[in-house]
Symmetry: D3
Subunit: 285 residues, 6 copies
Amino acid sequence: MDISDNTRISVLIEALPHFHNVTGKRILIKVGGELFESQEATRTLVTDIASLRALGVQVVLVHGGGPQITRMMERFGKEPCFIEGQRVTDQESLKLTAMVMIGDINTSIVAALNSYGTPAVGLNGTDGSMIEVVPRDAALGFVGTVKHVNTRPIISALESNYVPVIAGLGVDESGQIYNINADTTAGKLATALEVKKWFLLTNVKGIYSEFGKEESFISVTDVVGLIKLRAQGSLSTGMIPKVEAILGAVKGGVDSVHLIDGRIPHAILLELCSDNGIGTMISKV
Amino acid sequence: MDISDNTRISVLIEALPHFHNVTGKRILIKVGGELFESQEATRTLVTDIASLRALGVQVVLVHGGGPQITRMMERFGKEPCFIEGQRVTDQESLKLTAMVMIGDINTSIVAALNSYGTPAVGLNGTDGSMIEVVPRDAALGFVGTVKHVNTRPIISALESNYVPVIAGLGVDESGQIYNINADTTAGKLATALEVKKWFLLTNVKGIYSEFGKEESFISVTDVVGLIKLRAQGSLSTGMIPKVEAILGAVKGGVDSVHLIDGRIPHAILLELCSDNGIGTMISKV
Amino acid sequence: MDISDNTRISVLIEALPHFHNVTGKRILIKVGGELFESQEATRTLVTDIASLRALGVQVVLVHGGGPQITRMMERFGKEPCFIEGQRVTDQESLKLTAMVMIGDINTSIVAALNSYGTPAVGLNGTDGSMIEVVPRDAALGFVGTVKHVNTRPIISALESNYVPVIAGLGVDESGQIYNINADTTAGKLATALEVKKWFLLTNVKGIYSEFGKEESFISVTDVVGLIKLRAQGSLSTGMIPKVEAILGAVKGGVDSVHLIDGRIPHAILLELCSDNGIGTMISKV
Amino acid sequence: MDISDNTRISVLIEALPHFHNVTGKRILIKVGGELFESQEATRTLVTDIASLRALGVQVVLVHGGGPQITRMMERFGKEPCFIEGQRVTDQESLKLTAMVMIGDINTSIVAALNSYGTPAVGLNGTDGSMIEVVPRDAALGFVGTVKHVNTRPIISALESNYVPVIAGLGVDESGQIYNINADTTAGKLATALEVKKWFLLTNVKGIYSEFGKEESFISVTDVVGLIKLRAQGSLSTGMIPKVEAILGAVKGGVDSVHLIDGRIPHAILLELCSDNGIGTMISKV
Amino acid sequence: MDISDNTRISVLIEALPHFHNVTGKRILIKVGGELFESQEATRTLVTDIASLRALGVQVVLVHGGGPQITRMMERFGKEPCFIEGQRVTDQESLKLTAMVMIGDINTSIVAALNSYGTPAVGLNGTDGSMIEVVPRDAALGFVGTVKHVNTRPIISALESNYVPVIAGLGVDESGQIYNINADTTAGKLATALEVKKWFLLTNVKGIYSEFGKEESFISVTDVVGLIKLRAQGSLSTGMIPKVEAILGAVKGGVDSVHLIDGRIPHAILLELCSDNGIGTMISKV
Amino acid sequence: MDISDNTRISVLIEALPHFHNVTGKRILIKVGGELFESQEATRTLVTDIASLRALGVQVVLVHGGGPQITRMMERFGKEPCFIEGQRVTDQESLKLTAMVMIGDINTSIVAALNSYGTPAVGLNGTDGSMIEVVPRDAALGFVGTVKHVNTRPIISALESNYVPVIAGLGVDESGQIYNINADTTAGKLATALEVKKWFLLTNVKGIYSEFGKEESFISVTDVVGLIKLRAQGSLSTGMIPKVEAILGAVKGGVDSVHLIDGRIPHAILLELCSDNGIGTMISKV
């Protein structure tokens, strides 16, 4: 592409203060499992992470694994069973979940980051009893609620200059592993790690004040604005639990949460490099 | 048990100098996957590790996973295929191996150690490109040979006071995971980590100069003695690759390797607490 | 001695948590002067101290010198004179006391520890004005009461990895030396040094609830229990001042005081390595 | 300006690796005195320096003062006198030079940087005897040649997170101040400070292989290429001393020297943010 | 000079405790510009500073420049204009002041100290926005009042073992330089730097309770005494602003201010080495 | 005493560079036992040590005890016995020597220093096996020759800001104490401690080139000069062993040895504060 000096300087002069804003700071990126099914999406995510680290940003990556788990369950002939939207998780489902999340997805992301020159290590809730949970509801089986986050394994990885790649599984006092909601977990981690920004990558553009109307798209809002939208019933049902996690994180001390479309290449850099960004930013005030 | 003061002092006076010998030092324990199928064996191993740490010893744990992998392969209807004793590993077998080794066994050991009060984190060869491999032989598929060990993730875990629990899988430059021999890997790690002692837990008592003759059992030998035994053809075939790994480690700087029967409760403490121990110790000179 | 593996593990599994309890902690051992008149007793005390240090324990040794001082006084033809059980100490007696305690006993213990491979340095109350006293009673002459303990010389020795060997003499503001009660001094030092355990070696087994009845021996008690015994008048008169010092130390923050028979070889290790020990342990609650 | 996401990402993806290249590194910027006569040029220079520091770059600024000195001389009615292109500097001229360079220009740059939020301190060759000189030629008066650079005052300022702003005057052993060539001095400082890049801002675009022919402009060359050009006589006479200084710096360990047109706004960022830059880069090989 | 051993010991025994009093402490010396017009006075001041540093004293030097500025103004044909004792400072006067103070006097002192072997660096109020001011009175032009002192550039110089030599000019938020009263500035710096002693060198012997009467000379007084003198109207008008600055410094935490006659060779050492000194010491109580 | 300003400055200007010379350095002072029999001499020695410490000098004090030991021997009715000038030392004499040197003299000096406000601790050759010896000659009994000096206990005391007060007794590998020559020991300590200056206090003024002739007194000499004097036979017999120790120390790295008359009050300060001093200085070249 042939780009003029004026354009270059305009882009840089707009971007550099935003970048400076996160230099030496910690951010958390939450990505769903589906992103890692595309090699190209994995590649641009990995280069964005490398760029942020080059700017002196501490990056923590939390991933889900929904589609991959479902496929593995099917292979084992297990039929999904839900109670009020929560998947019932028996002993065998849990074992398969752990194997897919930790032994397959997490390991692959770690290997990809390292092979692209970004040192990374894999972590999950059992490492150093990092994510302590209690059972959510006996009927649901091994589904947990986060009780406490022990950040030491993550901090230790960051201090050794690794990107911690976290599979969101929890563990109880007896050493039993549990399935937990990945967005909620990411929010708790963001709070516990005192990150400056949490990038929550989904497959929508962001938040709209009127569902379905492009012109009602919200670039920037704050806690009060988001609570008002929730009260008005303007949010899609799929968005509700995410919004809860976002409100928790911002109230818990995170400067801003960025809800962005992970399918756009370099979504994180684009959100970060201009005044408006590409998704919805929710800030404290 | 009613134990006299004289007996107590005899045991302690004999044991304490041996313990002192490893205080503030690093040791590596290699255990096969089968040990973790017994809860009682897991429990005494975990308490031995806790005792060693209480004495100021840095412990690194490396585990295999043979039986568990085989069972999973069977569930998937995959038939094992061997070339000259080496298991041929195709893409799917490898994926299953990674899921079992990392997502199941490694995670369970980490959870067990933590639940018993011994902080631990799980690691595998992809973390920080820790165990770099090259393919061993195209016909074998994803079976690798260790080219380089990067100890940083392990050192980082030790410095944060965690027991690193290592699943012995390797990774190549492109981020591809590989299956590798667990004993060989443990030996390479022992050398790279400059450990003082490597405890190699198996299901035999140790080494005999004449196979099958109890009175020919060897309590203590050295590199020269072991090479002589190998030359005499006195070793069982199953022992040959272990002996290669042991010789490599001792030549590489490990003070002594202890080949002991992991089925004996508290095997490590017993090997360590008396002048003769319970297995075969191979030292430098 | 032929000891079974089960016995070894029983001894170790019972002992290790107790040892772990003092690893990295500070303890104080008070011994009377008579112990050092036996070479064998000196030797087992010195090996116990070496064992404790090998386990990472910081050891402080305080000694008396009664019998040796008495002998030196006799050689000089000085007759002992007592007022209500306190020895009257004139200028010359004091000088002889200092010479025996510091120039003979202390120096010999230091030399013995060093020659057995345990680095030690000698200290007394004048070093860095370590034990500041005021006169107790003009009629008693140079007999002092501890006013303040300055721990810096002791801490400095510990930080340089020496066993501080302390002759319990005090000093007043003008630089005048004073004789002081060794048990009381040890208790004050134990408090000031914030030690975890104080081992008080005497020539009795410990405390009995009924004087002379073996079956009334007390293995473990606490401050309340000891105060009750004192109130009941169950204690021998010789024990009263020791009990005062013990109560002061435990109230002052020492976790437990161990009153044991110093004539038993390895008395300290034996008291420490089992749940009951061999003497009387007085703990906080 | 309306800039597309694609353009933004193109600019950033091209720029970030170049920026990363100097993150945590030290660079030196040499600017002539004339630049500071334009408020706008001062402002864009200052923002470029701020941007570089935000990226974690250590910036050292060296300035000249030619036009300002000449004007002050004229005000004092002093006529310039040259011997072979070197200005003869008598006692009074020297005093005026010091007053203008240090008391006027240097102080103004420092005040400007600070007022824009970039902490800076002023330095000159007398501070800590930073730039030690010997007289160049008796006939020239107080004109010196750099004998030794003592980097401590500069390092100390950098460690306190200040931009050192350096007026290039030297000092001899007796404390006598001297005038020195600013480009040569900048080169010596670049070498002594082991900077990664030296930006030499002038009022030409860079170097041409054929003087006056735009199409012969050289974007990138190396020591060998530059020596060849000098041998061919392709360089303008004004360029010769600069080229000597450049060759000295690159041979002295500076990774690359960037000869750029300081009149272009944001010249430094533009040179740095793309593969070709806007001026001539001279690298080691 | 032939000096007896008794005399030497008397001098030293009197001097050493006073010297010890400032060992490892920070002091500030304020000198008028006129002192530096005498080479001999400069030399003895510099050797006193060297002696103090040899004793482990941290020395900060603040200088004025009155006579030199006046001469430069005359050379430029500028007539001084005063409003109520304050010199009106227009743009050009200010520029000349900065050039003389920073580019001439400050640089010469720094060069002199360095050439005598005492490492020094020059500083002025613009360095790191060190002395922040607001305009005093619009009618006076660029005359400022100190609003805040940022000590970092001075501390940084001291930590690098340099004598900071400070030209007392201030700077406002926009980067505009201002003229400020040197005594007042020195007092503010003394407070901000938490110095133990401030030596204020003038051309009088010190303070008299009755102006002109030698026998009323005051060697030692305190804040209360000084306030009383001021209330009695016993002070000369020239002394009033100095006294304000002194009171401010002592109330601000400076242990003592020493008003001494800078024309006496080695005035600082003489004031410091005996119980009475040579000038007037004003202490806290 | 009424001392003029000129005299004060002369004394200080002469003294300060000499003091500066030892600021932050280590010196060793050796004093015979007789000095401590005078309270006044003890007091001026202690104040000199305090003055030196106030100047930042690290002081190590080594003492003898000849007269006191002799008196104690007489009290015990032991007759001195010499072989070729060396005192034969049997078991009982040795015990008395240790008691007097360590328990009496050393303890008294330590108490005196502390009571004058100079923190001190006592040391002797057994502390940390500080002075290791071998027997000199079987016929002499417990008389040793220094084999090795272990400086750790001394360094540790200095680092804790104590004056180490050293009783020159040695110890062999078995923990047996030995008598050793105090001057020789001081010389070995001076070398091992890498002191800058060793002050050797005796009861003569210093060294004369012709015995008994005041005008032949030598203020300053060096190794070559001293060897020449020894070769000429100009030295008194009592001086010979001191000269051997001095030559050993200077060759071993001590900058200068100062042989001075300890009976002169403040002898050390007087030797140090002027160019000539009061005794004989022996330097390296």
